[in-house]
Point group: C2
Chain length 180, copies 2
DNA sequence: TATGACATGTAACTAGTTACATGATTCA
DNA sequence: TGAATCATGTAACTAGTTACATGTCATA
């Protein structure tokens, strides 16, 4: 029941896995699908990293194998220690705000290329945002939202993505117009 | 004059350094100050990583030592090969969109804690955004913008930060209201 | 029977973090 | 002369990426 000591503030993949297993037991393969789909807009993870982390989580006693299936399938479930660690992270650890926005980094340096290239770049950012906006609208419309926690908080994340896309598109349009 | 071969799409720190040195020659220490200040909202870098990367850039011929000063200070300048690499990155390499938003990741899992804790968390995201909004407004007002490239593109980046902060604050206020 | 989806794993690498270590110069 | 700032570097680590490697099961 007691939380494993852990002074590190990072390791969000670890907590992403714990959070998904809190919903219900899953295999590494199942988790991978989640990271490739819904999760990909929020936290990226590769197959290799995922299986590695599952091993570490099991060794740390935060998850355990709950059932084995065909083809070597191992379904993991979260343990009480894992749940404690997840809650601790959600409540006590302040989010680390290490910012890395490659698209925006380029904008700083657009003076190094011809104005036409700069405008093209900004317009392509706008196009990308527009496409993303459309995809998220479609996704939202296709989901039958309920009033359970997963729906409420899932919708919040989706709403964030939609608002972000709109903001990015509008900014890119404005910025392209600023290029002389 | 010809670009160094480089199939990797990442290495943005490398390009951030090249972009800053394109403005004018600087030492590692100067660059560090830039990364700690204006740059910190776009691309984070530690002192250790910076000096390591400067060594690699020099070895690759993309920068060279232009002047030495007291206390072992080494001022670097960008070479023609470095400028070519910077332009190549700006124009030809599409931005990699690996998303990792720790604050948003938590929102997915807020169902694991009491609604009051969840609301507190969302409100704290709103507060953070509001403070950031204020800081960026102040910064904008304090800068004497010109119509040179550095001003035009610097203002674009700042404008993005302001719009992002507004979006994040409004979303967080809405989201906090969604918690039952 | 062959293809594709299911399923897990490892090796070698690059990027990024934390902590330590050292010394020079300025200025109160 | 002591503290702050300037200035560079290294060692040990964690996180993340790419590529490879292997084998199972369902079904067309």
């Amino acid at each position: 029941m007691s939380r494993v000591e852990c002074q590190d503030e990072g390791m969000s993949l670890r907590h992403a896995i714990l959070g998904l297993l809190e919903e219900h037991p899953m295999s590494g393969y199942d988790l991978l699908k989640r990271f490739e789909q819904a999760m990909s807009n929020v936290w990226a993870a590769t197959q290799s990293q995922l299986y590695g982390e599952l091993g570490k989580l099991e060794a740390a006693g935060l998850i355990r194998v709950h059932a084995e299936g065909p083809r070597g399938r191992k379904e993991y479930e979260i343990t009480d220690a894992g749940r404690a660690e997840l809650r601790h992270w959600l409540v006590d650890v302040e989010p680390n705000r290490v910012t890395r926005n490659e698209a925006l980094l380029r904008v700083y340096f657009l003076g190094a290329v011809a104005p036409e290239r700069a405008r093209e770049y900004l317009e392509s950012l706008g196009d990308t945002a527009r496409r993303r906006e459309g995809r998220l609208e479609d996704l939202d419309a296709s989901i039958d939202w309920g009033d359970d926690d997963a729906s409420v908080y899932g919708r919040m994340v989706l709403e964030w993505g939609k608002r972000f896309s709109v903001m990015q598109r509008e900014w890119a349009e404005w910025a392209a117009g600023q290029v002389k």
